[in-house]
Symmetry: C2
Subunit: 212 residues, 2 copies
């Protein structure tokens, strides 16, 4: 979605009116996103400064405002980008070989692995999921994206007789809610329990909780 | 906790320095909390004005600042009050008659019922759970309170051989995370599915997911 013509935007009115670039340069936009991601991980969203993002990307502040409406917009675009990256990883696990149970273990482990790699970004996203965007609440939007994929996996499991006949959308929301909370809890622990222990606990809870 | 001498406070520096009241009047504090709760439900936290809270409580703005450091502090005190009210309801369900499974159904239903009654307050709390308080992140604090109670219930279930031998604290966090997400999802649906359907789905997921 990062090169979509109509990405999600925060609803809050921008301080400056964004001029659409005459010759959009995807490479400049990506450099700004990369610099923004680095700075979110280093200093956090509250301390993020547009000037610093532009400077780290080696671009002028005016160029920043050709691609983003401001700091919140940049953050929303980063969440969109990460949602897509995480979806890709999860889809790979969903499409892998083996039983429904084996694929679930792989998907839950891929989820925790991705969030561990992007720890700071995830923790800020969690606390910013109330941002209102053109597609509604940011957190609700992200859950809907993932639920769409997981719902299909659950429907296959029900058809195959491996899962009991639950509402697949409800089950997808339940598992995603469980995973998001437990990932946040886990990433805040010090020392952090090994990922394999979390995956084992959560995949058994899900498998037993939903089996036929 | 509402009459504790040292309630949770937001970390953000107050605009005005709060003077401690010479003769604290619990009734005035409670009137301000009640007015604040009404206004949170009516207009939401972003639109909440200290002047309006004081006026609705029939008190001067100066009196407000004897008891609260500002709007965020009032909101944190409301969350503390609600956490305690919800804990009381859940403890009643935990202590009720019947098997572990029957008590779980009652507790999950009591949770959804409480959040349905306090819908607006809950939805604002969810999006404000990143507020930093003197006891850490507000949402993390609230989960810790509930997890303490639920952990004991799970330990009983494990001792009674009704639950498999899981880490009771991990299981408590998992069930609370699942419930918080599903409550938020449910409260945003239009039309909203009947509460008994949600309770039935969630209590079966939990009971099957954790049984011995």
């Amino acid at each position: 979605l990062s090169d979509s013509d109509s990405p999600l935007r925060p609803v809050r009115r921008p301080r400056r009116q964004r001029r659409k670039p005459r010759n959009p340069n995807p490479e400049a936009r990506q450099r700004l996103l990369d610099a923004g991601r680095e700075l979110v991980f280093e200093v956090g969203v509250p301390e993020l400064r547009v000037e610093e993002v532009a400077s780290r990307a080696g671009l002028a502040v005016g160029t920043f405002y050709l691609y983003f409406e401001g700091k919140t917009d940049l953050f929303v675009q980063l969440v969109m980008e990460h949602t897509q990256l995480l979806r890709d990883r999860l889809r790979e696990a969903y499409a892998s070989e083996g039983s429904w149970g084996a694929r679930t273990v792989r998907a839950l482990d891929a989820y925790l692995e991705f969030l561990e790699e992007n720890r700071m970004g995830f923790l800020y996203f969690r606390d910013a999921s109330g941002i209102e965007t053109t597609e509604g609440r940011l957190g609700t939007w992200a859950f809907r994206q993932h639920a769409e994929d997981l719902r299909a996996v659950f429907e296959q499991g029900i058809d195959a007789g491996e899962l009991r006949n639950v509402d697949a959308n409800l089950a997808a929301q339940a598992v995603l809610g469980l995973m998001q909370h437990m990932a946040g809890w886990w990433l805040e622990q010090d020392p952090r329990p090994p990922r394999r222990e979390m995956t084992a606990f959560l995949s058994r809870l899900v498998a037993e909780g939903l089996r036929a």
